[in-house]
Symmetry: C2
Subunit: 156 residues, 2 copies
Amino acid sequence: MPALHDHTHCIADALTRADALCAERGARLTALRRRVLELVWSSHRPRGAYAILEDLSQQDGKATAPLTVYRALEFLVEQGLVHRIESLNAYVGCAAPEDVHSGQFLVCEACGDAAEIDDPGVGAAIDAAAAGRGFRVQRPTVEVRGLCKSCQENPR
Amino acid sequence: MPALHDHTHCIADALTRADALCAERGARLTALRRRVLELVWSSHRPRGAYAILEDLSQQDGKATAPLTVYRALEFLVEQGLVHRIESLNAYVGCAAPEDVHSGQFLVCEACGDAAEIDDPGVGAAIDAAAAGRGFRVQRPTVEVRGLCKSCQENPR
DNA sequence: GGGCATGGTGTTACTTTATAACACTCCCGC
DNA sequence: GCGGGAGTGTTATAAAGTAACACCATGCCC
């Protein structure tokens, strides 16, 4: 998301939807998990577990161990509220947690934003390619590095 | 590659092609780099940098530092002789180093094999999805987790 | 052939990312 | 209110990757 949007709205919206989803599923979105989700959403850039850890320590003043963060992230990923970007060892909020989907990402090398897409064509092509080889798909990962529109238009 | 193939042939073939390619390009496939390539090829399973490091130390008797291996791997990846599997932090030999391509992989959760495919449909779908959003693709990553044909047929 | 620039390798130390093992606590249902 | 399971805290450790700098070897120029 190339700047210039009301990001507090993104965060609030993400939290509201997470609350609703977890309530509906009987999953426990505890204070800690909710806070970690909020910190993941603090931008549209994927954030590392240790960056979140630092935020927790500094902003909230509590000294936290890595495991605490990893456990919260694990829960959030399981619930589909957060995706892990494998090629960055980092986490980013999911834009459409209600839908079951495996994330596809366009990661900008310049600004670091990771735009989530859920392109049916890409999914279908992967399914077809796998089926043709007798491979049963469980979890596809698509992470495309490149330059986002706004960084192409405003190079630095 | 579900067992039952002459893997020494795979290795020999990979090395021969690497020699030819590097000679053609004026790239220096030194003894160390060649040896690391051989170790990457020791199976069709992605191997971690530290596994290769251990092989170097134990099989060859030389104590080597991680950096040595990483540097060799970096070279091999640049030359397209080896691909990095992001979701595993591991490396696997490229089946078709002559062609320029970004790897697409079917990674079996059961046996660990990573089958490289270069499916034009998948590539085209990604290009189309990116183009529709004004995103310029530099390096697509596709890593599909699931079950390979042979592991579906012979569950354990 | 001597000098020298470049690229490759060795060595030490260190950072970042992730997990193991185990204790404690809180909350829910009964 | 209490027993059990899920969640969290704590300490330690493993795995993956990088920085800085020295040394060596190869090839090229003169």
